[in-house]
Amino acid sequence: MAHIHLEDGSFTLFWVIVWWVLALAITGAAIYLLRSAKKADSRRITLAAFCTAAAFAVFQVSIPIAGGVHMSLTPLIGILTGPVYGSLIVLIINILSAAIGHGGWGMIGANMLVNVSEVFVAYAVWRALRTIVPDLFSRAGIATLAGLLCGNIVMIVIILVSGVQGVTQTPGQVLAGLSIIAAINMGIAVIEALMTGLVVSYIGRLRPDLLEGERK
C-alpha cells in the first residue's frame, strides 16, 4: 500500500492543481478508451464494481501491524480489471475515502497517481511474466510486490517534488523519513502479495476467464 497521508494545505495550491490535472488526464483517457470500445464488457464492469467496493472497504480497515497500516488491493484491481478500469476504480476509491476523512480532498489527484502507478505496474508485470512464471500464485505475488514498490516510489517523488508547506525539514531529511515509510509499507506489501496470490490462484482455478490476460 502507498497512500499520501497528508492533509489539505500540506501542498501548495499549484501542486494540488498539477496532480489533479494529471489525474484527470488519465481519467479522461480511460473514459475515452472505454467509450471508443465497440461494445461494453459487462462482465468486466461487474468485476470492476466488486473491486471498487472491496478495495474501498479494505482501504478503511486499519491493521494493527507496525503501529497501524492499511492495504489497498490496487495490484489485484490491475490484475482483475486491467489499467483502464483500474484507473477509474482508484479515482472513485480516493474520492470516497476523502469524503470520510481518509486523505484530503486536495490529495486525491496525487493519491490517484500513486494508486494508478500500482495498478499499471502490477498489470504490466502480471502480463509480462505470463510465459516465464506460469504459476498464478507466484506471478500475482510478484506483480503485487512490483506494483506496490512502484507506488511507494511515486509517493516519495510526489512529496519531494511538491514540498510540504510550513516545515523546516530539508529534502534529504524528508527523503530519509519517507524511505522508512516505504520500507515498512513493503513489509505490508508482503501480506498483500500473499493475499492477492491466494485470491488470484483461487479465481484461476474456478473462473480463469475472469483473469486479465488469461482469457482464452
Partner: protein
Amino acid sequence: MSGGTGTVPERRGRLIFIGLVLIAGLVALFAYAVTGPVGIEERFASATGTGPHDAGEGGSGAAGFTLEGQPVLYGAILVLLILGCVALYRKFAL
C-alpha cells in the same frame, strides 16, 4: 498453487517470489526496528516534519487552504462532487 505439479517454471516463480518476500520482509523489519510501533499518520508527520500536532491539520501557507475540521466545506464539496458525478454519468453513461 495453480497446479501443484512443481514444474521448473513454477519452481522458478516460487523461488523468485520467496526471494522478494524475504528481501521486503527484512527491509521492513529493519525499518520497524528504527521507528518502533508508530501509527501511519505519525510516521508521515515525523517524515515530513509537520509534527505530531499538525499531522491532521496541514499547513496554512499563502497558497495553501484548509478544509480539515470544517464540515460545512466538506459537505459543500461532497455535494458538488455528487452533482458532477451525476452529470457525467448522465452524459457519458456506458
